[in-house]
Symmetry: C2
Subunit: 388 residues, 2 copies
């Protein structure tokens, strides 16, 4: 297998982008990535795009052909493939691009993610997102994602020492970071009080424990490592790509507040990359809800099970902490255009490793990790990247 | 890159399967493929599943995790990934499985396809399928797939010598083959009269020019060629995997009755496989409408442009003809559960190459081809397979 490097990245701003269509978002992110790699579209050999539910959000499928067409690449007849794994769609698109280059079948490959979520009636987004859970055993029984993660939070708080205030601090930290990220949907700092006084969504999760509904797109370009310096002076090496599945239903899990797929993907990723936790300078984790970040930090092995509340309260996950988590603002503050999130995580890590993260820069960062979750943990993708 | 072989195949019967859920269909096809490969599920390293629109047909996304779970493989945390390219979803899932094995990342990989189309209100299927076209420029303007292919047929018949009767003979031939295929949705022979007297759908296409709405699933298992004989005495080698895109919209094409993506994918496939048309003993083409088979035969290069009507009428595409086309009955008679079709085509070719195709067996077949189309040709996958 060939080694793979990232040679370009691009991302739209995230938010309620009423003026931009699904196609507009993808084309903008793709153009930014091409510009970043100083590459013309003619050099692209293949594309993978992560998207969860354009079928329901905008009544559009066949997303690979759609984006190849609107990107002006259709008449070159390149392969263009959509990958879907709910909220992990972006992470899996990145992984497929890596596999395509590693195999030797393709050289220059775009991995993109896009979701246009705001063009539906209020409430329809929540139902569409429920498609990431088991429709028959969870959705039809009335479970929504805030409800499912509320069950995780309730179970977790019953078993481990996590206070309501510690949970709120996840959102406070992510808004702090988001306020320093020019693409973030929410660039405002908040306090613990903001969280605790916000609307109750699903006990114990309040509005500010939940990631928002977002439009956005992100793109990264990968190439064989040996060719990377043709395109950029700052290639980022893909040290590991790992993916794991688990039961799609929460109630079938061994333990509902431990994501076994995160543990499996993390173990594989560390083994492939031949690095340890001490080597990781920052991690983008899948904080669709504040409790998800708490579980992620633990299941990725950055602190012991049950310890993430105190770990967060002690500032260990903040900029300047032991392991900065979600320097982008995470899904909570940067926003969560479902299919784009996994690619945006890579975008953030690449910016950090290049020293281009501005006010949220982690000094001397050389290795970063991403953690992208589908549903309540039915799919997890973990990637590790490093400077050369 | 490693060579790849098919070590097992399975397929449900196709039809209106009111008693089987989406999950039931997938599990049945997967179990049949495992049984065929004499393999236990524990040996599976990864899965890819082609599915077009479970989001709209059954309100379910996150299909990779869903099928891993229902197949009993979720707790082994294998990677399981959904691929979507409208009606070419199955072909692209097969291709991703091949790339994963070729890369060396995975050894034993399932490529499956599944669609459950009949659990919606009458008419909803047609609208859902329109998601394979450009929703904004085609769907919202009132174009449906019968309408789009009717435009292709009208253009074709205006420019080339194709009679209405010759077009009907495509369906007659495919029903003849379907009547000899135990998994086919329609196992009845028809006559030219059956087609010409059937309901008009979109001038000049009548009901019997159109593939049906179908439930079904198919699965194939691939492995590194050097390990294939551990599992089967009759491994089938993958000689080429090729994929091409084109504009998603029909009106943006250079020529609406020539599928440039078919030509591009075909040229790549022949180059990779190092074989010529004379070497191909049978081909499964994407006959979503009778006119689509006419175009496919020509664009794949089996006869000259404009010649497919006479070629068909002369019996050259029938069992025993120069190049038997759609021995399975094709989408027309075997049925078209969208995401499953590309995998079912491989299932048919493998049965033929093993000499297990019963009454529709092509004597001494050693090399076969599949041709799977998304939309009106926005995506095309071509695969060539051969006996060892």
């Amino acid at each position: 297998m060939r080694d793979v490097a990232i040679i370009g990245v691009g991302c739209t701003t995230f938010g309620e982008k009423w003026g931009s269509s699904f196609q507009d978002l993808f084309v903008e992110a793709g153009a930014l990535a091409l510009e970043d790699a100083q590459l013309s579209g003619e050099k692209i050999d293949a594309m993978y795009v992560g998207n969860m539910s354009a079928g329901r959000f905008i009544e559009q499928e066949h997303i690979g052909a759609l984006i190849a067409d609107y990107a002006g690449l259709a008449t070159r007849h390149i392969p263009s493939t959509r990958v879907e794994a709910a909220c992990a769609s972006g992470g899996l698109a990145f992984r497929q691009a890596i596999i395509a280059v590693a195999s030797g079948m393709e050289d220059i490959v775009v991995a993109a993610g896009v979701e246009k979520m705001t063009d539906v009636e209020p409430g329809a987004s929540t139902d569409t997102l429920t498609g990431a859970a088991d429709r028959e055993w969870e959705g039809f029984m009335g479970a929504t994602f805030p409800g499912l993660y509320a069950m995780i939070a309730t179970d977790y708080m019953h078993r481990y020492p996590l206070t309501r205030e510690q949970l709120a601090l996840v959102a406070v930290k992510n808004h702090y970071n988001g306020a320093r990220n020019p693409i973030a949907q929410f660039q405002q700092e908040i306090t613990v009080d903001t969280v605790l006084k916000s609307t109750m969504v699903a006990e114990p999760l309040r509005l500010f424990d939940c990631s928002p509904i977002t439009d956005g797109a992100a793109a990264v370009i990968v190439a064989p490592l040996e060719r990377a310096r043709e395109f950029t002076d700052t290639p980022i090496k893909v040290l590991a790509s790992a993916q794991a599945s688990d039961t799609i239903t929460l109630h079938d899990r061994r333990d509902i507040s431990t994501l076994d797929a995160t543990i499996a993907a993390r173990e594989r990723a560390f083994k492939i990359a031949r690095v340890t936790h001490k080597d990781i300078d920052l991690v983008e984790v899948h904080d669709c809800f504040t409790i998800a970040e708490i579980c992620a930090i633990e299941d990725l092995g950055f602190c012991k099970k049950g310890g993430a509340g105190k770990f967060t309260a002690d500032g260990e996950t903040a900029l300047g902490g032991k392991i900065p988590v979600n320097t982008s603002g995470g899904l909570k503050a940067c926003g969560h255009p479902v299919g784009a999130t996994g690619i945006k995580q890579v975008f953030e890590v690449v910016q950090q490793l290049r020293g281009e993260a501005g006010k949220r820069q982690i000094d001397g960062a050389t290795i970063g990790m991403t953690h992208n979750v589908g549903g309540t943990g039915g799919t997890v993708a973990v990637h590790i990247m490093g400077v050369l």
